[in-house]
Amino acid sequence: MKLKLLAFPVLLTALVSCVQEAPVTPKAEPTAEQVTESEQTPSYVKVLFNEQMCDLVEEDLSRGQVRTRSEGLNGLVDELGIESMERLFPFAGEFEPRTRKEGLHRWYKVRYAEDIPLTRATRAFESLPGVEAVEEPIKASLTTNDRYWGNQWALNNVQYPGYDVNVQEIWDNYTVGNPDVIVAVIDGGIDLNHPDLAWNCLPDGHQSYVYGADRVVGHDHGTHVAGTIAAVTNNSIGIAGIAGGDYARGRRGISLLSQQCFYTIGTGANARDRSGDFETAIKEAADKGALIASNSWGYDFDQDMDGVISGSELASARSAHQNVQYYSIARAIDYFVKYAGCDNDGNQLPNSLMKGGLVVFAAGNENIQYGAPANYEPCLAVGAITTNGKRAGFSNFGDWVDLCAPGYEIISTLPNSAYYPYSGTSMACPHVSGVAALVLSYFGGQGFTVDDLKSRLLEGAKDIGLSSGGRAVGSLVDAVGAFMAHDSGTPEAVSDFTVSPIGHNLRLDFQGGGGAYGYMALAAKSEEALRKTRLTMLDEGIEFAHLVIGDVEAPLEPRSISLLSLEPDTDYYVTLAAYSYGRRYSALAPIRKVHTGHNGKPTIETDPGETFVFRQYQEADVPFTLLDPDLDTLAVDFQTNGRATLKAEMDGKWHFRLICQAVRAPATFQATLIVSDRFGERALRSFKYSVLENVEPVLAEQIAPVSLNAVGQSVDIDLSRHFSDEDGEPLDYRVNSLDANLVAAELVDGHTLRLTARDFGLGEVRASVFDAMGATVRTDIPVLVRPAGEKVTVLEGRIFGDKLTILTADQETQTTVRLVSASGTVVAQASGVSSAFNPVVLDTGHAAPGLYTLFVDMGGDVTRLSVVKK
């Protein structure tokens, strides 16, 4: 089924209103020097090809051509003046496998001539075989609902207690954010130098997805949203962000990633926003490590710009609402939800705090029951409330709205060190993103999923009477509620336990289970330190370890926790606390004093047998086993009089790979592996390894002659598939064209030969390979350039002299060639096996000047050419 996303001009709007007073600090527009921009937005459509068409286009475009082997598409190249085709979701490097698996590689952004109407381009692509969907571009504008200056009632509502996000208790007792949690702001650019934001912005990775804006520039809306999420807290200036850390205590908040999709062009009354590729920004946010995507934007259906959605506009809003699951934005959201924090197979990465990503969307400001794309099921849709807990009059509504949050007169950051209150669901959305970031900061870890996060946010939300009825906007997001969701109450304390030193580690044995979600063991050199610390936010110097039972129904039975890597020969005070799902901690178990044992010396075990023998550049495992009685973290060093390197990796246990470097002559070398723990205890192991004589590279698979059909056409040959070196060393590939007028030869990505036709004829390209020792092998590759469909090529042209060189079919074929005069005389002939690269050569020196017929019979496929002897 072909889908046309927008049957009408759809605008995208940042869902914001702002009050009328001037900002605290005057705004400054970006200057021409700040970004490179073009006033003219190019004409384009987004096209989803089917697999077959996509393969064709992909292969042809890889040769640098707009024209492809698709006749239909080529027809549009002329009809629409197609200038370029590029992937909507660009090549994703290490994430390309999952990008293709989800079909995102089949979306293309096709730019065409500016004078072609959008509707014509859309219809043309809709009728093209191999096209599954066509979407018109999204244009951007900002709508504002001006209100009044306020303060941060959203975080601490003094006038109407209870109608805020209830974050203070979390800051005090649990977390103020974790820099490992990356929140992507899919919006206007964040002012990365804002003094209230810079501390919590990622050092790099920010990107613009707006045509004409080559880097991120601070934007009112995007900077405002970012401030709500993670403006630096407790820094004596500006505002507090929900997950903004604690500057005074040196604790950073979560990390902000700016994925710029709005960019303001023009100034003053002429200022307007240009929108970018939202789909790409969301998708690539996952590839950059973001776990939460905050989206304060949505489709705008106010075509007549009268501020009211009615008639056909309402019908359009309903259509988008009902069909959002078919749009390219839905594919990007799916990708983020599935792959954020994961590898290409969708498995959680070892250092990731969550499996999958959370996409938060503003519900919209039109006061209607529709709100694409926020209503797309995997997203959290956020409506807005006012100071007194009522639905904001502008907020879209319906049972598809998952949560509500403060969205009225919200003060936050603006570019150039400014602050300003805005209203809108755009402001409500980052409140949910911020609370989600706090939950993830505290509860995130291996096994924590996006469903866990959503469950906490939804289950912990406070019902303020807006979650049902005709104009529902869901329950109010509540940070404490999210932290306490599913909580079973404070468990009982552990009454007794034993502690045993094992080296400088301690093992605690106790009866555990029976209502506790988990246990935390603590150790400190001071008993007072143990008694004074808050269990939810441990003080410096407290060593701890967790045992997660995970099941409050588990029976009471013997359990143990080990505290590792304590200082040897030291007195420690040790205790235990049980905790609930919501991290409500029991009282401490009785504190016990214990003395840690001596530090054990690490050892190296191996059974290398004879000397290790390697080829040049061979990389092979060597069987060393490291043991440390205290399970200390070990440092590994390697010394040798040769050129080998040792790659040591810790994956539960140590793995070693010796990588040999080239040596001039076969030799045996001495090497030593040195292992030390953090207390300076060392173990050494010496061994020998021999490196064999160099083996020269070889041409393992002959490179077939290349046939090109058009000037400018290119073909890539992966030389690494044809050359090999038994030593396995890195090879140096070099190429040069022996007939540069005919064919250009260049090396791309180190080992791929790219041939580009420059003129018709037969040429030759040389490919050479050098190994690390300078040994080389080379091959010459015949390259034929002739028009498509031409079966026979006369190398000398059709006006010949003393010889005729006849290039026949690309493949070897039994061929008969005759040169026949006008009167019928066979002047010259030949027969045998020939091809384009093994041509027939006729001696025509004796032939008189005149008109001749060149007859070429290639296994029954006959070609006749008129040729003239001069």
């Binding site: 190398l795 006006i799 006008a822 002047v827 045998g832 032939a847």
Partner: protein, 305 residues
């Protein structure tokens, strides 16, 4: 220059991989303007080129062949035109020819001939719209020295337009003598003597000998004709033809031609038929058993009185 470079490259590149020269035709000297040797007379073409010495058939094309034989004709005026599809599987040419021979008194015969061979347009020169062609214009005179002996000379101009800016041309002269005794006609002479073409290449000139003998069977007759040519280039050819006349109206013809490899007209078999009634003749011929000329055909009409 680029093509030359390419070829040099190719020679080095392919070396012995190319089809060896030994498999090619043994290339002897090759003459220019070989189209001069194409028969324009459908009667002679029906006999594979034999019949130059025949005097019983129309002498309208004498300017292309044997002007001496025309001197023995008892007609006042002989005219003919012909059309041929020549070498349809190779050259694919369309030939037209016209000839006229007039007799002055009892001894002198004057002949004129015109022929044009047209080819398809050159696909490598499509923009010009140019089509190659050959044109031949000849005149001859025959003089009957005695009742048994005649001599004749013809001369002509031939032009071959090969490219829009390139053509070849040449003058040629033929001189033959004819002797007849009883039913036997003997002819011999030099054919298409001329200068060099493109400075190095000769015309398809030859020493020609021809004989014809007629047998009478009541109202029918059979002519056996033999023509042989030895070309100055070293090539040679011989043609044997039969012309069977039925009641002076109908004719069945056939012949075989054997030629050396590079002779202007290759070996092959010819068949033909003709009608003649009250001086009006209609003749057709067809060539077969020839790799390059097989499928060629010619048709002609003539009138003589």
């Amino acid at each position: 220059m680029r093509r030359s470079l390419l070829f040099m490259l190719l020679s080095g590149l392919l070396g012995s991989a190319a089809i060896p020269a030994a498999a090619q035709t043994d290339a002897g000297a090759n003459e220019a303007l070989g189209v001069l040797r194409i028969d324009r007379n459908p009667v002679l073409l029906s006999m594979a080129g034999a019949g130059s010495a025949m005097t019983s058939t129309s002498q309208a094309y004498a300017a292309f062949g044997n002007p001496a034989a025309a001197a023995f004709s008892d007609k006042t005026l002989e005219t003919a035109v012909s059309y041929a599809s020549w070498s349809p599987h190779y050259t694919a040419a369309s030939n037209i020819a016209a000839g006229v021979t007039g007799h002055l008194g009892q001894k002198v015969a004057l002949s004129l001939g015109f022929a044009r061979q047209g080819y398809q347009g050159l696909d490598f020169e499509p923009a010009s719209g140019f089509k190659p062609s050959d044109m031949i214009l000849r005149a001859g005179v025959g003089f009957k020295v005695s009742e048994s002996l005649a001599i004749g000379v013809s001369a002509g101009y031939a032009k071959e337009a090969l490219l829009s800016d390139y053509s070849l041309s040449a003058f040629s002269v033929s001189a033959l003598a004819q002797y007849r005794i009883g039913g036997l006609n003997l002819a011999g002479g030099l054919v298409h003597l001329g200068g060099k073409v493109a400075s190095d290449y000769s015309l398809p000139a030859s020493v020609k000998l021809a004989a014809d003998y007629g047998f009478e069977f009541g109202s029918s007759n059979l002519h056996v004709a033999l023509d042989g040519d030895y070309y100055f280039s070293g090539n040679y050819s011989a043609a044997l033809g039969l012309n069977f006349g039925i009641g002076g109206i109908g004719f069945l013809r056939g012949g075989y031609r054997y030629a050396s490899a590079n002779a202007a007209i290759p070996s092959g078999l010819a068949l033909g038929a003709g009608l003649e009634w009250h001086g009006i003749s209609l003749d057709v011929s067809f060539l077969t058993a020839s790799e390059t000329l097989g499928g060629s055909w010619m048709a002609g009409v003539g009138y003589r009185f």
